[in-house]
């Protein structure tokens, strides 16, 4: 396991390098003078020159990249053009709400996804299966921005049950987490169904039934537990997609997280913030994929030995 983990972690280093390079190059890829972009549209020539000096934009590109990385390791991500605050402070502030929303979405997506998937596999080709799978395809197809707005209209405006947006107590999480988690719940349901159907064909299930176990015990004790291994790892991967899905959900529900900050920064052309957000989102995504890989290796010895050797 150690050899496999080390190999996976080392394999990430080139990717980390490329991601840092892309994040660094971001400002340089935008047509126009980077110093002018960072200084903002109203900046004077003197201010632009100051920015050029401050960010080392008059240095050769490779030198700029080394400086960028050195600053990054010291936690200096630059300053926001709009607020003038350090970007790191803004990201730290917004990280908590995004993480809590993502966790809440994953929790309900797992509960509903697993439940629907199990019902569907157990009642294969009967109406509960057809209904569940139709719901699952709908869950993948529904635009989250539409679902969110329709829920606000019904549950907040018409019925007044939940607030229309913002972060606060438990009730503020319900609509945003449902909106964000719907697609993932659908994917988990489909995956659970196919995984469980494969397990139900196994010999040990037949043995369980033939020795007189009740169907509930066969499903609960033997089938679901084994079917869960691939589902757990796949759900982990979905966690990464939830983070990027939060961009839209946070915008709809005025959620003070990283996703909304990204969109606000793009609208305001706050390039240092956009640059750092791209870096942060990619790192999170990469880290989650690594954790899922390690978890999968831990749960499935076959993968670990094949890849490790």
């Amino acid at each position: 396991m150690l050899k496999y983990s080390v190999k996976r972690i080392l394999g990430m280093i080139p990717l980390l390098f490329v991601i840092s390079l892309i994040a660094f190059m971001f400002v340089h890829l935008i047509p126009g003078d980077p110093a002018r972009l960072i200084a903002g549209t109203d900046a004077t020539i003197e201010e632009i020159e100051n920015i050029r000096e401050k960010y080392g934009l008059n240095q050769p590109l490779y030198q700029q990249y080394f400086d960028y990385m050195a600053n990054l390791f010291q936690g200096d991500l630059g300053q926001s053009i709009v607020t003038g605050r350090p970007v790191l402070d803004m990201l730290v502030e917004r990280f908590g709400p995004t993480l809590s929303l993502t966790l809440a979405s994953m929790a309900w997506a797992l509960i509903f996804g697993l439940l629907i998937g199990v019902i569907s596999a157990v009642k294969r080709n009967k109406w509960p299966d057809h209904l569940s799978m139709f719901l699952a395809v709908s869950g993948v197809s529904i635009p989250s921005f539409w679902l969110g707005l329709m829920m606000i209209q019904l549950f907040s405006v018409q019925l007044g049950w939940f607030p229309t947006g913002g972060i606060g107590g438990f009730e503020t999480y319900i609509l945003p987490s449902f909106t964000l988690g719907a697609g993932v719940a659908a994917i988990i349901a489909r995956f659970t169904r196919s995984s469980l159907m494969d397990v139900l064909k196994e010999d040990y299930i037949r043995t369980g039934r033939s020795k007189g176990l009740t169907e509930f015990k066969v499903i609960n004790r033997h089938a679901v537990r084994n079917a869960l291994i691939p589902v757990v790892t796949m759900s982990g991967l979905q966690f990464g997609f939830l983070l990027s899905g939060s961009i839209i959900t946070e915008t709809i529900f005025s959620w003070p997280g990283l996703g909304r900050l990204l969109i606000n920064s793009i609208t305001a052309r706050d390039y240092p913030v956009i640059q750092s957000e791209i870096l942060l989102f990619s790192l999170e995504f990469l880290l989650i994929n690594l954790l899922v890989d390690l978890l999968y290796g831990f749960l499935n010895p076959k993968i670990r030995y094949e890849e490790g050797s």
């Binding site: 635009p143 921005f145 969109i263």
Partner: protein
């Protein structure tokens, strides 16, 4: 006599072409078949939309601002009094063409890279696949937003952004199909009689990847339409005055309290279209996959 009859039956069975076999199997998937018909009708509507729409996409009716659905305006009107149903008909072409063209570009580049990677192997394979790994290291939506942040908002840039993040998906799938086909006997035989790489790829490898390509192409269109509409919703895609479904939905956000129909109908159009593409993709996969079909 009986033997002759059996032989005749066998011969008839053998005459069934793969296309006929696919068609027979696909017709059994009733929901997917219905989704296919729905999409065909949608394409017709997208083409003739401007002629059958009761009103123009920018036809203002200041006496009917934000009015609900009625016989005069089937899906109601928006804040400028424009007929939402007519705008949905006009926008069908935009949404479908954005989805189709972005996936087409992504599939084209991905297929070329996937075939080159799988067929030539060695350092070519490693180089191409490492670049694809980097693209896959970014969540799709973030990659699209990053590209838009560089290129600027607009429908053309949305198409480019969605195309770029579709490339690695196709490259990976087509590469694995190519690897499987490359190791078959008939490809080895063709290579051994001295056929050029180009001929082997065009005559044997590419045709073998087509069924996989069709399935993923159909399935990706749904997600491409969703992401493109999402970008327009965030104000990064189509111009707000364009009858693009995502932009129309975004316009209605401010009137959610008194005129929810402004957001409801464009959203419903996106949902039904994406649902139809996903159902069609599921059916095609089942009909084209011999393991499931037989």
């Amino acid at each position: 006599m009986a033997e002759a009859a059996t032989q005749k039956e066998e011969q008839q069975e053998k005459k069934v072409t793969p296309t006929q076999q696919f068609w027979k199997s696909f017709k059994k998937q009733k929901v997917s078949f219905a989704a296919g018909i729905f999409l065909l009708l949608l394409f017709v509507v997208a083409i003739i939309g401007p002629w059958i729409a009761p009103y123009g996409p920018q036809e203002y009716d200041y006496d009917n601002l934000l009015s609900g659905p009625s016989w005069q305006h089937l899906a109601g009107t928006d804040d400028f009094g424009r007929d939402i149903f007519s705008r949905i008909l006009h926008g069908a072409w935009i949404s479908l063409s954005v989805g189709l063209s972005s996936v087409f570009i992504g599939a084209l580049l991905g297929t070329i890279l996937g075939i080159i990677s799988g067929y030539f192997g060695k350092w070519v394979d490693s180089a191409i696949m490492r670049v694809m790994d980097v693209l896959l290291a970014f969540p799709g939506m973030l990659l699209a937003i990053g590209i838009i942040a560089i290129l600027g908002p607009g429908l053309f840039n949305v198409v480019m952004a969605v195309a770029i993040f579709s490339v690695p998906v196709f490259a990976r799938i087509i590469r694995s199909s190519t690897l499987a086909i490359k190791s078959t006997l008939y490809v080895e035989a063709t290579q051994s009689i001295g056929s050029s790489h180009f001929r082997v790829i065009m005559k044997h490898i590419f045709p073998g990847t087509v069924s996989t390509l069709i399935v993923y192409f159909t399935m990706r269109i749904g997600s491409a339409i969703l992401i493109a509409a999402g970008l327009s919703f965030l104000g990064l895609g189509a111009d707000p005055s364009t009858p693009e479904w995502g932009a129309m939905l975004s316009n209605g956000r401010d009137y959610l309290n008194n005129a929810p129909h402004v957001t409801f109908f464009p959203g419903l159009a996106i949902f039904l279209t994406v649902l139809a593409f996903n159902l069609l993709g599921d059916g095609l996969r089942d009909a084209l996959d011999p393991k499931i079909r037989d």
